[in-house]
């Protein structure tokens, strides 16, 4: 049997990023099952034509492609949209190729990612790819820059969802409902998240000596 190929496209411009952390977990899981895996960041690929050529070739070769991206203003980041526009303009695949997406946002509610996932589904339709499903993760910022395996019980439901995703991909199946629902589970109550997130922002402003200017209005 030919080696199966898994490609992850990273939509985050940040390094390290939540998307990258999750991508590494998925890629490691499939590599252990004999898949050849590749992770490519979209930002640099769009800036350098040789990197884009490599990305396009990997995309053509991949049996399954995943897009892992943050939510920017209710949908996909602009440069991620640009990459999808270029990929959809490629010739439609002659063999079945599959696609799924995982979108994470800085809000607690995973539902805020749903429109971005609908956009990913329509990309799959327009690019001639079989849509396997969309994973929505809230409070992504709480996981920034850390290895998933080292984060303990707080992300147990995320790990379980990704494990189910890996099993489904390996079996050639769409993502199961359990994986789609588990990853949406909230880390904590809304009031606590708002308190912690606001504390984090205020501390960041204080560290940069701009706490008193945090609501500056330069264009008023």
């Amino acid at each position: 049997m030919n080696t199966r190929r898994f490609l992850v496209l990273i939509g985050s411009p940040r390094v390290p990023s939540v998307s990258e952390t999750l991508a590494e977990y998925l890629a490691d899981g499939l590599a252990k099952r004999g898949w050849e895996t590749k992770i490519i960041r979209l930002g640099p690929a769009l800036k350098h034509e040789d990197k884009w050529t490599e990305l396009a070739e990997e995309f053509r070769q991949a049996d399954v492609t995943a897009l892992l991206t943050p939510l920017y203003v209710d949908s996909l980041p602009g440069h991620t949209t640009q990459a999808l526009e270029r990929l959809a303009a490629e010739a439609r695949p002659e063999r079945e190729r599959k696609f799924f997406a995982l979108v994470n946002c800085g809000f607690l509610e995973a539902e805020q990612n749903d429109i971005a996932l609908a956009i990913c589904r329509l990309f799959a339709r327009d690019a001639g790819l079989r849509w396997l499903g969309g994973l929505a993760l809230g409070a992504g910022g709480a996981m920034s820059g850390q290895k998933l395996e080292k984060m303990g019980g707080m992300v147990a439901h995320v790990v379980r969802s990704l494990d189910l995703t890996i099993e489904a991909i390996d079996a050639g199946q769409p993502l199961p409902d359990e994986a789609l629902q588990l990853i949406r589970r909230r880390f904590c109550p809304t009031w606590l998240y708002v308190l912690l997130a606001n504390f984090g922002m205020l501390k960041g402003a204080m560290d940069n000596h701009v706490l008193t200017k945090i609501h500056a209005k330069p264009y008023a």
Partner: protein
């Protein structure tokens, strides 16, 4: 009565250009002073997600390019109009890259609005929020996602007036003109 149209398409798209002309003329006929920002002629780099506009130079992006025009337009105008080809149900990448640079218009702090977490407003008043999505061919599935997307943008920015249209190249120009005129009548001066 000041308004900005963010044009997220190409000047080579004759159908979208006609819609732009109809929109601009209809707004001017209602007394609006209209400026069109043609994004294909501007230099707007992607948001880097650095949070500098919140935590280092609050209210202003660290990138000194045309992207700074986006939050400025929101702060200084009564009405914003997005004009965009629909891309997989979303805005074109050209427009979306510009929209991503609106982040400094919002506060970094959060609050709960209608049971959902949103950012606080940095400026007391938001402009009216209008969007026209353009399709070369009718595509109801993509049109529905576009309407939902603009609906979410409206929920986030909480503007005083808003409306959304999806037009396509198979419609008669007269029909488009009627719909655009109805949209323009909903535009209000910022309080």
């Amino acid at each position: 009565m000041n308004a900005v149209i963010f044009h997220g398409g190409s000047q080579r798209d004759a159908g979208l250009e006609r819609v732009h002309t109809q929109l601009r003329d209809a707004m001017q006929a209602q007394g609006w002073t209209v400026e069109t920002k043609r994004l294909e002629t501007m230099t707007i780099r992607p948001c880097t997600g650095c949070f500098g506009c919140w935590l280092r130079t609050p209210g202003e992006c660290l990138q000194a390019d045309d992207g700074r025009e986006v939050p400025k337009a929101f702060a200084k105008n009564d009405v914003i109009v997005y004009l965009s080809p629909i891309s997989f149900g979303g805005y074109s990448s050209l427009l979306k890259t510009a929209i991503d640079r609106i982040i400094p218009f919002a506060s970094p702090l959060f609050k709960v609005v209608d049971g959902e977490i949103h950012h606080l407003k940095r400026y007391p008043n938001s402009p009216g929020y209008f969007a026209i999505g353009w399709q070369a061919q009718p595509d109801q599935e993509a049109a529905d996602v576009f309407l939902q997307l603009v609906g979410r943008n409206i929920r986030n920015t909480r503007p005083p007036s808003h409306a959304t249209l999806v037009l396509n190249a198979t419609q008669a120009p007269d029909e488009q003109q009627v719909q655009i005129a109805q949209m323009v009548r909903k535009m209000e001066v910022k309080q």
